[in-house]
């Protein structure tokens, strides 16, 4: 490693102020600190520091995403081969096909997002923040597999620039960037991210598809039943299949099992808040139960736990709602924030079948409300402290 270090030290002056490539200083710094933890020492305050940093945290989150991503790649292939009538495709065939379809989306998301991050870091003379390592992975995972790459690029650029950089970069953003990217496509190019055809690779084009193959997700089954006031006809197996994840859907969201493995990593390392995660699930489940009591249509009558397995509920609860920057920052607030995300998501799904996926809108809405929740929690703390003083006297 000494040789590499010497090389980095040798080319470093080119990127300093006044050097040949000073405009690339932030980018150089990002790569250098990625390779080598810098030799910076503490100046004031604590002389020793915990060895955790944002790089480590973000990498752990990316690792937690991997089970869902790998399963998503496999499932992309599986769904495609089912649709074209090759139900006997091997695991490796499925995975290979998925990799072929998904990898370009990941690359586009990272290249566009990191490119913008590097440029804005340079403009601000900041170090490049690691936040996009996670966002860049989340964006492909909440996309349908057939989404056009240019659309991914535009959505990512929108999310990073309008969603994050205008507010001051990672740590300052109001909305979850990955969800913002999805919402952008959802509202700007609706046909590419809703309906029944788009969840399986090749289904929209329709070449070689088995006759009568629908491609509907459990969510769209339920939504269309609610729209037509009829019984729900589940086309994609039962709750067990939804839990394992062998159903159509966004790339990373289908397998509740793989998501729960990621959840275990996040909770064990303490990087995600268990309060938020638990209360999202609790909110969704209780809302489901409430609808069972009302029972006005078939959608309201489905077992409450179905909601937790369908669509992006689990993915949103584990990876999106727990984003510390856009969520509630106080522990009391986290309970309220999570609970409302869960219950609102189910509310949107059931009451307004026009938006089958309530999770995205629910989290984005609660992102906006989180500071208000915190405001009241902190205000309560101030009042408590003020009262305490009066009692003491």
């Amino acid at each position: 490693m000494k040789g590499l270090r010497h090389f980095v030290d040798k080319i470093k002056p080119n990127f300093e102020k006044g050097g040949k490539f000073e405009k690339l200083h932030s980018s150089f710094d990002a790569f250098e600190t990625f390779l080598f933890v810098p030799n910076h020492v503490t100046r004031t305050g604590c002389h020793v520091r915990d060895c955790i940093d944002l790089k480590r945290m973000m990498i752990v989150v990316v690792m937690a995403l991997l089970p869902a991503l790998l399963f998503g790649m496999y499932n992309t292939g599986l769904q495609h081969f089912r649709a074209v009538g090759m139900a006997d495709a091997s695991l490796m065939q499925c995975f290979g096909f998925g990799l072929w379809k998904v990898l370009p989306i990941i690359i586009v998301s990272y290249v566009v997002g990191l490119g913008i991050e590097f440029i804005s870091a340079q403009i601000r003379h900041h170090e490049v923040n690691e936040g996009f390592l996670v966002s860049g992975m989340l964006i492909p995972m909440v996309m349908p597999v057939d989404v056009p790459l240019w659309m991914v690029a535009v959505a990512t650029a929108f999310a990073v620039i309008i969603g994050k950089e205008v507010f001051g970069g990672t740590g300052m953003n109001v909305f979850n960037p990955a969800l913002l990217a999805r919402a952008f496509i959802f509202f700007a190019y609706t046909p590419y991210i809703s309906g029944e055809k788009i969840w399986i690779a090749g289904l929209t084009k329709g070449e070689g598809i088995v006759d009568g193959f629908s491609g509907a997700t459990p969510l769209s089954d339920a939504a269309s039943a609610a729209l037509t006031h009829s019984e729900i006809h589940w086309t994609m197996g039962g709750p067990w299949d939804w839990f394992i994840g062998t159903i159509p859907g966004c790339i990373g969201e289908t397998s509740t099992l793989a998501i729960l493995i990621g959840a275990a990593i996040l909770l064990w390392t303490g990087i995600a808040s268990w309060r938020v995660m638990l209360s999202v699930f609790a909110g969704g489940y209780l809302m489901g139960l409430l609808f069972n009591l009302i029972g006005a249509n078939a959608y309201m009558e489905i077992p409450a736990y179905y909601h937790l397995l369908m669509g992006g509920f689990a993915f949103g609860a584990v990876f999106m709602a727990t984003d510390p920057v856009t969520g509630s920052q106080t522990n009391t607030g986290k309970w309220i924030y999570g609970f409302l995300i869960g219950s609102l998501a189910v509310l949107i799904r059931v009451i307004n079948p026009g938006y089958p996926e309530g999770m995205m809108l629910s989290i984005l809405f609660m992102n906006a409300v989180a500071p208000l929740i915190d405001y009241y929690v902190v205000q309560a703390n101030m009042n408590r402290r003020a009262r305490r003083v009066k009692v003491a006297q």
Binding site: F36, P38, H47, V48, L54, R56, T170, G327, T330
Partner: protein
């Protein structure tokens, strides 16, 4: 005996180099100094010139804004140097001691009958007043104010901190006199916080309210103890004194002179034999930390010498520096000014983290040799809920920090700026993955409060 207050939040960072309970008597050395920077918010005005002869207890300088607050020489001898820095700022006033020590003598009132103003006057004259600090702000107490209580923490829970029951084992008489003197200064009570279950000289102190505290650092921080016993509201002040300095105050009342001996702990992974030293206040660091007593460093590495502990101490020059006025401990740790290849991805078994993404949790008993590397780059605040776990007060640290950064006086007041000083947020700074300097931010906030409200 007395109630035990249990604190759950906090963290004990286990480091190598705890002081053995052995005592070295250090003879008088070539120089002793007062360092004005040890006193927050003080602008020194000199009362001596180079070559002046002073006694132990003679004033060397006073505070421009509180002229009655004197700072006196710990030894008798000749003023040998007044070191100045940029803009002629006074860095240190150095006295070369004479072999036979001569003391200023002070008229001491009988403690049983003394009034508050007599005690105050004596402490001011003898230069021991700077030992009394006030909350809010952690600055030298204003002698014209009356505190609602006086607090002394009888134990230090910081990493490698000295054991005061060992340090003060012989000082029972001085401590009792010191606490009796402090009791004259307040209408309220004098509290002594001790570690639950500890036995020693501090359990026998008369005339104070003893409170026991249990739990990890910062349970020994006097601010945390105040928060749980009698919290400070706007307009109130509580005074605090370092427990070893209570004994110095006691000696003044017993013997009528300033006797500044103290026992300090030399600690840290880079000392060969960490143990206790009996020294005179203001002694040169080089008389305690000698190169031969340090572990050799490999690859051209250097060490950092710290006045105090690794969380709140101040870096000091090994050759030129002097022991800090308020410090009972010196820590020597390795500098971390080296690169680490893909460090963020490594298992880092020899580094400590509260995060379970490393493996410290597997080795709860392990003692670490931590260096001064920042272990990352400075970022905006990203994580939430983490800092709350390391501040055992009903305060939201991140909101307080953000109020300070925004310069919002009202919010700072409501969120608890009166109750904290830097040391209380030191653990939050230690665990911060965004590597911000929370202790400096807190001081910045306190400075703003002082400026705006006075």
């Amino acid at each position: 005996m007395s109630q035990v207050i249990k604190l759950k939040k906090g963290l004990d960072i286990k480091l190598q180099g705890e002081a053995r309970k052995e005592l070295t008597q250090l003879p008088l050395v070539h120089a002793y100094a007062l360092t004005p920077d040890d006193f927050k918010g003080v602008t020194p005005k000199l009362l001596v010139r180079v070559d002046d002869v002073v006694k132990a207890g003679s004033p060397l300088f006073y505070d421009k804004y509180h002229p009655q607050v004197l700072f006196t020489s710990p030894v008798s001898g000749k003023v040998s140097a007044i070191n100045r820095g940029e803009k002629r700022k006074i860095l240190s006033v150095v006295v070369t001691p004479e072999a036979e020590q001569v003391y200023e003598t002070f008229d001491v009132p009988a403690l049983a009958k003394a009034t508050s103003s007599e005690v105050t006057e004596l402490l001011l004259k003898a230069g021991l007043w700077p030992m009394i600090l006030q909350r809010p702000y952690g600055i030298i107490a204003n002698p014209e104010q009356a505190p609602k209580a006086i607090f002394v923490s009888g134990f230090d829970s910081a990493p490698l901190a000295p054991d005061f029951n060992f340090v003060l084992a012989e000082e029972a008489e001085s401590l009792n006199a010191g606490f009796a003197a402090l009791a004259k200064l307040t209408e309220g009570k004098v509290y002594l916080g001790i570690e639950a279950g500890s036995q020693g000289v501090l359990n026998q102190i008369q005339g104070v309210e003893i409170r026991q505290f249990e739990g990890p650092h910062p349970s020994g921080n006097v601010g945390v103890q105040i928060h749980h016993v009698c919290p400070i509201a706007k307009g109130e002040t509580v005074w605090t004194v370092d427990v070893q300095q209570v004994a110095v105050i006691g000696r003044l009342f017993l013997h009528g002179r300033v006797e500044m001996q103290k026992i300090i702990a030399l600690t840290g992974s880079e000392t060969k034999v960490p143990h206790y030293f009996n020294v005179m206040a203001g002694c040169p660091i080089s008389s305690i930390v000698r190169q031969a007593d340090l572990r050799p460093q490999t690859d051209g590495g250097t060490v950092r010498v710290i006045n105090g502990n690794v969380l709140t101490g101040k870096r000091v020059d090994q050759k030129e520096g002097f022991l800090g006025f308020y410090n009972d401990q010196i820590t020597v740790i390795p500098e971390g000014d080296r690169y680490e290849f893909l460090g963020w991805g490594m298992p880092r078994l020899n580094k400590f983290s509260v995060s379970r993404s490393y493996f410290s949790w597997l080795m709860p008993g392990k003692r670490y040799r931590l260096d001064t590397n920042l272990n990352g780059g400075v970022r905006a605040y990203v994580v939430t809920g983490l800092y709350d776990k390391y501040l055992p007060m009903d305060i939201y640290p991140l909101y307080l920090i953000k109020a300070i950064l925004a310069g919002d006086i009202d919010k700072m007041e409501q969120l608890g700026i009166y109750e904290v000083i830097e040391e209380d947020l030191a653990l939050c700074e230690f665990v911060d993955p965004s590597k911000t300097e929370m202790q400096s931010i807190i001081r910045q906030g306190i400075d703003l409060m002082i400026k705006e409200l006075n």
